[in-house]
């Protein structure tokens, strides 16, 4: 009796190298690659902001006020690539440093929000019964708020909290509350999606086998279930980054997000409004930065979704 596996070669072809896999991603997803490139550019901007700029992002000289883009200020002799704002600060420098704020908020909100959502979603599906019912009702309540409304409410609550704690410079903490305000609405969104995938995983016998082995709940959840719901998790994670950047910009634009003098794109647009009649250039570049960053993350996120979820591939 011949061994069926020893026909020609029972050796699998070597797994594709990381470079080959990257190349196939580039070929399959040209738009996603463009998005990834935008993302990389913004990440580099954020990391190397100190080396890319020559001006101080948080303070300027009043006599450089409203220097036009691409001009040298008569008063100080400094060059302003994208002009100077109402405090004489360099717009280009503030946009570069603004990438730091935007990406810090965007990435931490997406990571924390989707991670908590992942754990809650999987736990909800794994335990079922009352745990599931109660968790789902709580998610229902959080989902009853439009995103920005819930974020706004958390911002106001956090201000009361700061007042109660009597800290010295409440504005220094604003960014952390912005992160909390954006993260919390993300949790139920991710938990929902993860839960529905996890429900299917729970029915597969290997979970029963793990239980029969006497593994603890947390081990089954973390080692056996979580790895199997990575696809929806990663899809939500990448989709959240763009949304979080947009939300942070919106909150800052309303004056309820990051506070001056921190360089933030939404904040720059907020102050540009006052001078819109004569200094239109102030309103152009920060908006362009937000759009490009969100565009990049969205394109990349779409590509990740296409690559990870074959069911959605045909639709787009």
């Amino acid at each position: 009796m011949t061994d069926a596996t020893s026909v020609d070669d029972d050796v699998l072809p070597p797994p594709p190298t990381i470079w080959k896999r990257m190349w196939s991603f580039v070929k399959k997803q040209p738009l996603g690659t463009a998005g990834l490139m935008l993302v990389v550019i913004f990440v580099l901007m954020a990391i190397f902001a100190d080396f890319l700029t020559t001006h101080d992002p948080e303070s300027g000289e009043f006599f450089d006020q409203f220097t036009r883009p691409g001009q040298v200020s008569d008063a100080s002799g400094l060059f302003f690539l994208l002009g100077a704002d109402e405090f004489g600060r360099d717009v280009f420098t503030r946009i570069i440093y603004g990438a730091r704020t935007a990406l810090f908020v965007g990435i931490s909100c997406a990571l924390i929000g989707s991670f908590i959502g992942l754990i809650l979603g999987v736990a909800s599906a794994y335990f079922g019964g009352w745990t599931d019912t109660i968790l789902q009702r709580i998610m229902d309540i959080l989902m009853a708020f439009p995103l920005i409304i819930l974020a706004l409410t958390i911002v106001i609550a956090s201000r009361a909290l700061l007042q109660g704690l009597e800290v010295e410079n409440p504005n220094d903490y604003s960014i952390y509350f912005v992160i909390a305000a954006i993260t919390i609405p993300f949790i139920p969104k991710c938990a929902r999606v993860v839960r529905s995938s996890a429900l299917a995983i729970r029915e597969i016998p290997f979970i029963d086998a793990a239980r029969a082995n006497g593994f603890s709940h947390s081990r089954i959840i973390m080692r056996h279930m979580v790895p199997n719901v990575m696809a929806p998790f990663l899809i939500m994670l990448t989709a959240f980054v763009g949304q979080a950047i947009l939300l942070e910009a919106s909150l800052s634009f309303l004056g309820l997000g990051v506070q001056e003098p921190t360089p933030a794109w939404g904040l720059m647009l907020r102050s540009s409004q006052e001078f819109i009649r004569d200094e239109a250039f102030l309103a152009i570049y920060p908006g362009l930065a937000i759009t490009l960053a969100v565009f990049g993350f969205n394109l990349f996120g779409d590509a990740v979704r296409d690559a990870l979820d074959p069911r959605l591939r045909s639709q787009n």
Binding site: I141, A160, L161, G164, L246, L254, G255
Partner: protein, 323 residues
């Protein structure tokens, strides 16, 4: 069917009460007091006596349970109390602004339908041609462009175009007049925010129209129609589009619910005295009763709209049955 509607309506009650609970305790149970914020907000001097009087006036000296039940009973009887800032009833303040916001929301939805359905159809019919690529880029960009920046760009465009044609710079009027009183004036004011929000919201609907139509165009009955020698235009418009509209209607409905929240930012850009503006102002002034009132109104609209969409979905598609 009726049983399903009743069940859904009843399930909404705990959700709304839960939302009220969340809002209430976010604003009240954290350390820090409304009165302290109100009196000491700008670093002003105040003493304990003033705070006590303030708390008594606002009913904050009552136990939290009493305060909360008052709030929920007030919600059920549509009595949201008085604004902590202006002292006038919350409902009265809100009703003035609600009209404006609702009009912008409806206009924005119309704008997004006008953009989305033709563009999505073109994109599907000419799949993988340059038309398709242009439409898809426009719609992905729509999701990325912040509506407040688009609003600022529209204002800039209005300023420079009016300067070229009339010699003077024109800006949309600022004070609201109802549509039926002065239609031209009203539209010249509200058209721009509707376009700024509508374009953004059209993006999702465009993509949905495209993918849904692509699916329908592959169905057998469309092939039959083609085999009969029917004109392509008639096939797309009469046969395919009708069936493709179902998910599009849902998406547009969901967006309408989101619009109520999304308007917060747009109203700020165009200086509109709408509900969203009022919310931002009341958040800025720490006006807790007003914030609660507006947030709960938006939550109610949101939850109800989602419910109506679910019903509409089944009504449009007889294949879907409730269980």
């Amino acid at each position: 069917m009726w049983q399903y509607i009743l069940k859904r309506l009843l399930l909404m009650i705990p959700t709304v009460i839960g939302a009220a609970f969340l809002i209430f305790f976010l604003l009240r149970a954290l350390p820090g007091d409304v009165c302290e914020l109100k009196l000491g907000g700008e670093g002003a001097y105040y003493d304990e006596e003033q705070i006590k009087i303030c708390q008594q006036n606002l009913g904050l000296d009552q136990p939290l349970v009493v305060q909360f039940s008052d709030f929920v009973v007030g919600l059920a009887t549509f009595d949201l109390g008085d604004s902590m800032w202006t002292g006038r009833p919350v409902l009265e303040e809100m009703s003035k602004r609600f009209e404006l916001s609702l009009q912008v929301a409806i206009m924005a939805t119309i704008v997004s339908i006008i953009i989305a359905i033709p563009l999505g159809t073109l994109s599907a019919v000419y799949q993988n041609t340059w038309i398709d690529y242009v439409v898809r880029t426009v719609s992905i960009a729509g999701i990325a462009v912040p509506s407040f920046w688009l609003g600022i760009l529209i204002i800039l465009a209005i300023l420079s175009i009016s300067e070229v044609f009339t010699g003077s710079r024109w800006l949309p009027p600022l004070d609201y007049r109802p549509l039926w009183e002065d239609p031209m004036y009203n539209l010249s004011m509200l058209l721009w925010p509707a376009i700024a929000t509508g374009y953004r919201y059209s993006a999702v609907a465009t993509r949905m129209t495209r993918s849904s139509l692509l699916e329908v165009l592959r169905e057998d009955y469309v092939r039959t129609a083609r085999a009969k020698g029917m004109v392509e235009k008639v096939i797309v418009n009469r046969h395919a589009l009708k069936n493709a509209m179902l998910p599009v209607v849902t998406v547009i409905g969901i967006e309408f619910a989101f619009l109520m929240g999304g308007l917060v930012v747009t109203e700020q850009v165009f200086n509109l005295n709408g509900l969203g503006r009022l919310l931002v102002d009341s958040v800025t002034f720490n006006d807790y009763t007003m914030t609660q009132g507006i947030v709960m109104t938006i939550v109610l609209v949101f939850v109800l709209t989602n419910f109506v969409i679910d019903l509409l979905y089944a009504w449009l598609d007889p294949r879907i049955r409730y269980s």
